[in-house]
């Protein structure tokens, strides 16, 4: 028989028993709708988690640190410009930016803040970090040094006299980072030394840790203060808006290098290694490197490659893997709950097909006597079962879209996330379940005796 004839016959026999067909289809609708909705809940959760990880420093980024254990004995695992270009030649690496981390003291009015995370990135790297700004924006190429401030940086400012800040008083210092004049001291050692000797009482907090170093320093001249303009302030409303950039200060690495060279002249810049004779090197050694990989799936491979080169590389990949695994198993579990109703629907299909075969015993016999192929008879019933599945799958998917829309509307975020493959998988599953449920009935139809046609009742 031609496929078109088979289809037509199957559909017409479904239409002949409308109410029964509709009820059977309804079972499939409920089954598919519950599976798709449940799985979409799991997917939505996964998506929300990934978005969260994205905010906590990116899904595709790797941070490379020099291997600290080897610093003294050999220079091979420090990060310099050669290392950066080696990294950028690795497969799947999109962007490599050296990161130069320095410390500085910010002074504004009576407040001061000793920052440890003054991070210089290349402009390309800053762009790749994809920061959101609440004010201002990225610095431009060739500009002199400008700072980008983290959204919680103000919490770290303390009253220079009382030593109390946000964490003690609960009040944020009233500083406009964009517009107020802020003095920056790069030579923190000299500043602290001179300040310590001047101040009547020893400061609590930050500086206590530095006391041991005081003896070595010779410079007693007050450190110079610079006014560094602000390029922007990073986005983040309220106290809970904590991201990995929140307490940092960011800037263009080239501008930072220029400024540091000016500030320290021939002296060793803090954080840079020295030769055996105590002289600084000509070239820069970086605190770390920031690497962006082209896709999330390459992160662990690239990370491993860099680790094998002797560097210390960290990324969110393990975290991502963990969350993805846990949300995948959650989605599977939710889908399993939905699958129970699909099982009931499958039994419904099998039952309907069975009934229909009993009713049509004579018809099937006649078809056999008239020379209908056995496989055509089986195909007729399989097509019937598959169309029940298909129609149920289509309507079930439509229903799950409605339910997902309602859930998302009520929860106010994308709790349910229906992907194209989920829709296709739902449809495919419905058809497959239909065919499986129709298989044994169709086998039975095929094996019915043609003698049934002869009997007169």
């Amino acid at each position: 028989m031609k496929i078109s004839d088979l289809l037509q016959m199957s559909v017409s026999s479904l239409l002949k028993r409308k109410l029964r067909s509709i009820l059977t289809i309804l079972g499939v609708v409920i089954g598919i709708a519950s599976i798709v909705t449940m799985v979409s809940l799991g997917l939505g959760m996964q998506k929300l988690q990934l978005e969260q990880i994205e905010q906590y420093g990116g899904l595709t980024s790797i941070t490379v640190m020099p291997d600290q254990s080897d610093v003294v004995t050999s220079n091979s695992h420090l990060i310099d410009d050669d290392t950066i270009s080696t990294f950028s030649n690795l497969d799947h690496v999109e962007i490599v930016s050296p990161v130069l981390t320095s410390s500085a003291i910010l002074l504004s009015g009576k407040y001061k803040d000793e920052i440890w995370q003054l991070n210089g990135y290349t402009l390309e790297g800053l762009k790749a970090l994809n920061y959101k700004f609440s004010e201002g924006g990225l610095p431009h190429k060739g500009e002199s040094l400008k700072f980008i401030y983290g959204n919680q940086l103000l919490n770290d400012f303390v009253d220079a006299h009382t030593g109390q800040g946000f964490y003690e008083t609960g009040n944020r210092p009233d500083i406009d980072l964009m517009n107020d004049t802020i003095f920056t001291v790069f030579d923190t050692e000299s500043y602290n030394n001179s300040n310590n000797s001047d101040s009547e009482k020893p400061d609590s907090g930050f500086e206590s840790q530095d006391d041991e170093d005081d003896n070595d320093s010779s410079a007693k001249t007050p450190a110079k203060k610079y006014i560094i303009p602000a390029a922007g302030v990073l986005y983040g409303e309220g106290e809970d808006a904590w991201y990995d950039y929140s307490y940092g200060v960011y800037c263009d690495i080239e501008a930072l290098k220029t400024t540091l060279r000016q500030v320290f002249r021939n002296r060793t810049i803090p954080g840079q290694p020295t030769r055996k004779n105590g002289k600084p090197y000509k070239k820069w050694y970086y605190s770390s490197a920031y690497i962006k990989v082209s896709d999330i799936k390459y992160v662990s491979a690239v990370q491993k490659e860099i680790k094998d080169m002797g560097y210390d590389a960290t990324s969110n990949s393990e975290w991502i893997q963990q969350t993805q695994e846990s949300s995948r198993s959650l989605a599977a579990m939710l889908g399993g709950i939905g699958a129970v109703s699909m099982l009931v629907a499958a039994i419904g299909i099998a039952n309907t097909m069975m009934m229909s075969i009993y009713e049509r015993t004579k018809e099937i016999g006649v078809m056999k006597v008239l020379g209908c192929e056995l496989k055509d008879i089986q195909a007729l019933f399989l097509f019937e079962a598959a169309s029940i599945g298909l129609v149920g799958g289509v309507i079930g998917n439509a229903l799950s879209f409605l339910v997902a829309f309602a859930i998302n509307k009520i929860s106010g975020q994308q709790t349910c996330y229906i992907t194209a493959w989920l829709v296709l998988a739902g449809l495919g599953f419905a058809v497959i379940v239909g065919v499986l449920a129709g298989y044994f009935p169709s086998k039975r139809a095929m094996n019915l005796s043609p003698l049934a046609a002869i009997r007169n009742d």
Partner: protein
């Protein structure tokens, strides 16, 4: 359809047995039956109820398996075929007319006649053309688009005959084709079948219990207790 030598019988039945086991006892539905049917013959198998005539027909049509013996139809030993081969055999060589017509209630006359053609994978247009021809042949020009429940018993059986003819089979089997019709219509139906056999040189094997109806046939095979008498 292959050309058949008129000297050779189109149906050759030899020493056919059908034995049912009923508890300890063996029941011989057919007890050593042999005969030949030539091409273009109209043969009536006559017997009372339980004589084994229907069993004989079912075996010749490949609906039941013999316990012993040979059935050669159009040169094929059908006692050796399996279910799948039997379906193909029926499709290629056999037309069947039922006592209770067995038309599909949702299909009209043309569609019912076209049904065996669709099993052969024939195009819808060709199907329709041949079905209309066959319906004209049995005198149902005016009822082409009627459904079975809109037709009389006689008209329905005409559709049944057209359905058997439309595939141009070598042999048509008819199982009590007039069993559900009144005697007047039955006579009409048999004249029609006689005509067709004569005109198309069609071989027709009919089972009946009615001696009068059997008299329409060229040849009668009488069966009693599973034996030809």
């Amino acid at each position: 359809m292959q050309e058949i030598n008129s000297e050779k019988p189109v149906i050759h039945v030899e020493n056919l047995y059908r034995i049912y086991k009923s508890g300890q006892e063996k029941v011989y539905a057919l007890n050593g039956v042999s005969f030949d049917i030539m091409k273009g013959e109209f043969v009536a198998i006559v017997g009372t109820s339980g004589s084994g005539k229907s069993t004989l027909l079912n075996m010749m049509a490949g609906l039941e398996k013999p316990s012993k013996g040979k059935i050669v139809i159009a040169g094929k030993h059908i006692e050796k075929l399996n279910e799948k081969e039997l379906v193909r055999f029926r499709r290629e060589h056999v037309g069947f007319i039922f006592q209770s017509y067995n038309l599909m209630s949702t299909l009209n006359a043309i569609e019912n006649v076209a049904l065996p053609l669709s099993f052969r994978g024939i195009d819808k247009k060709v199907r329709e053309k041949r079905s209309i021809e066959a319906l004209k042949h049995v005198g149902l020009e005016k009822y082409m688009t009627h459904r079975p429940n809109e037709m009389s018993g006689g008209q329905q059986q005409r559709v049944g005959i057209a359905r058997a003819l439309v595939v141009h089979p070598e042999i048509i089997f008819a199982d009590e084709p007039t069993g559900n019709l009144d005697s007047h219509t039955a006579g009409e139906m048999l004249s029609l079948m006689q005509d067709i056999v004569k005109k198309d040189r069609q071989t027709l094997v009919m089972v009946t219990h009615d001696d009068h109806l059997a008299s329409y046939a060229d040849k009668q095979i009488r069966i009693s207790d599973g034996k030809i008498v």
